[in-house]
């Protein structure tokens, strides 16, 4: 966890624990107790062929999430909040607690507010909700646009955010956010066989999201777009064996050292469409991620990739206790060459959510997958993705308690 994250959280905690002034008015927000909410999720995953996210072929319970948050209004304009989160998903998380978000929020007007701290990235319709099992019908959001394995890079930034909501006479309302800052990432999570990431820096992440909320009679319709630009700078150390191998094939000069710098500027964009009215939710998003890469000294040629990602999704609250849903999601990696199985992943998911009580739910979900681009070689005996099974299925069950 980055030190700024820790300091920010301690500041927020201190603000929350400010003694209540007796002189304050009886109904002042300061006199109200903080809002405390939490969730605990446990899932199970079983796949027919490839290991997906965890060792799912044998069936895996390494699918756990825990969150605890606290928010406190200091006045009508000023509030603070934080959420502690930990998870385990195969090789990711390992129950290491981290501050998901923390903020100091000054709500100047409805059309202009300022947040400082670690805030979730408003990318697309659901990125800032991707951890929240109780806030959606499916277990997994469409992984083409919201890849859970890249949560550390895409979930939150530490810096500032401007936000606002402006009703417009007769034509609906605009909901907007602009942000800039950096991302603190645990570099050990990036280690791969034969290489170590000794330093990882995100010098900037900037972006914004604009949503148009339609007026009656089509209220519930939302159209919008998000863009995000960021850069990863990595210092990578290769093992002696790997360096020798690169030297032998001429990828590295004979005098090259074991370390190199790797820079990845990226530009991400997504267009969003949602219709949410009464019990129905329909959503579709189309996204393109443009990533450049450069190594110094040059180990691989400089280049760039543009991946294409989209999905369509629907769900319906048939009854307060039962909501089925489905989506189709496509990820195409954009790697040049023939369209082999390792360059795409199609995901057709059917899901059901059962609200057993108002604070406890169970979800059952099936996926039919075609393609292997979303798989990790590390979970699949380090086999190249092109050698993994093209057509496969995944079953998931997940239960969440929350308040």
């Amino acid at each position: 966890m980055g030190r700024p994250v820790l300091w920010g959280a301690m500041l927020a905690a201190a603000l929350c624990l400010l003694p209540v002034r007796r002189a304050a008015a009886e109904d002042s927000p300061l006199t109200q107790p903080p809002d405390v909410h939490a969730f605990v999720s446990q899932g199970f995953m079983l796949s027919s062929k490839n290991n997906y996210l965890t060792h799912s072929r044998r069936g895996s319970f390494e699918f756990t999430e825990v969150g605890l948050n606290l928010t406190k209004s200091i006045s009508d304009d000023l509030s603070v909040g934080m959420q502690l989160f930990m998870r385990d998903l195969g090789p990711i998380g390992n129950y290491k607690p981290q501050f998901d978000w923390f903020y100091l929020d000054y709500h100047f007007r409805d059309w202009l507010g300022l947040r400082a701290g670690r805030t979730k990235l408003p990318f697309g319709l659901y990125n800032d909700q991707s951890d929240i099992d109780s806030a959606r019908v499916p277990v997994l959001l469409p992984q083409s646009v919201y890849p859970t394995t890249q949560r550390d890079f895409l979930l939150a930034q530490t810096g500032f955010e401007l936000y606002g909501y402006e009703p417009l006479p007769l034509i609906g309302a605009l909901d907007y956010r602009l942000y800039g800052g950096t991302i603190f990432i645990d570099q050990t999570s990036l280690a791969a066989p034969g290489e170590t990431v000794s330093d990882l820096d995100v010098p900037y992440v900037v972006g914004g999201r604009l949503l148009w909320r339609a007026p009656a009679p089509i209220d519930g319709l939302t159209l919008g777009g998000s863009v995000q630009a960021l850069r990863f700078d990595l210092d990578v150390s290769l093992s002696d064996e790997l360096v020798s191998a690169f030297k032998q094939i001429g990828r590295l000069p004979p005098t090259a050292s074991n370390t190199f710098k790797y820079s990845i500027p990226a530009l991400l964009g997504v267009g969003s469409l949602e219709y949410s009215a009464h019990d129905l939710l329909l959503a579709a998003e189309y996204s393109r991620w443009h990533e450049s890469y450069r190594t110094r000294p040059q180990i691989i040629p400089d280049g760039h990739l543009t991946s294409t990602r989209w999905y369509v999704m629907g769900s319906y609250h048939v009854a307060p206790w039962f909501s089925p849903g489905a989506y189709y999601s496509l990820f195409y990696s954009g790697v040049p060459g023939p369209k082999t199985r390792d360059k795409y992943q199609q995901d057709f998911a059917v899901t059901t959510r059962y609200d057993i009580t108002s604070n406890w739910l169970l979800k059952l979900e099936g996926h039919y997958m075609r393609g292997t681009a979303g798989l990790s070689p590390g979970l699949n005996s380090n086999l190249p993705l092109a050698e993994l099974t093209r057509d496969w299925t995944v079953f998931m069950a997940k239960t969440t308690a929350f308040f």
């Binding site: 809002d35 979730k120 959606r136 909901d175 009656a216 519930g220 019990d279 939710l281 909501s323």
Partner: protein
């Protein structure tokens, strides 16, 4: 498949998709039942508020906390009713145009992404009346046949 057959097939698929879309929209926009002599809910505010009416959009924005201030800058203090109450269901369908379940999902999204907390839920119409009477800026709703006490009843413009 011949070119003509392919075109016919394409038209059928498009027509089917169009019909499905319209059906979905229809399912999602079924208007709330607001028939009968007595309204199913009445909107109330603190007696000090000057407004005689509010718009549908303003009410929805206030209860979803997209809008947090009255004209004149006083903080809006919306107050909800129990999730299983009939009046909450009518208000949710009629004003928020979402089911109570969908609104709960909306608040789960807001709570756990750090974007806000829902209005307090009170146990009864009487509790809402007492709350609104006691809190300047308060905004609530009660069953149509329940006396509003010293609270001010607001007309709801479409």
């Amino acid at each position: 498949m011949s070119g003509r057959a392919r075109e016919t097939h394409r038209r059928l698929v498009l027509r089917g998709a169009g019909t499905l879309f319209v059906l979905c929209l229809a399912l999602g926009t079924v208007p709330p039942v607001l028939a009968g002599d007595a309204p199913e809910f009445r909107v109330i505010t603190h007696a000090s508020r000057p407004e005689a009416s509010v718009t549908h959009e303003f009410l929805a924005d206030a209860f979803l906390k997209n809008v947090t201030r009255w004209p004149g800058d006083e903080a809006i203090r919306p107050v909800d009713q129990r999730a299983d109450s009939a009046v909450r269901r009518h208000f949710s369908d009629g004003v928020l145009r979402r089911s109570v379940q969908a609104v709960k999902t909306y608040w789960q999204q807001r709570i756990f992404s750090g974007r806000g907390v829902p209005p307090p839920e009170l146990e009864s119409d009487e509790a809402v009346v007492h709350y609104v009477e006691a809190h300047p800026g308060a905004l609530g709703y009660i069953s149509g046949n329940v006396p509003a006490g010293k609270a001010k009843v607001l007309a709801v413009a479409p």
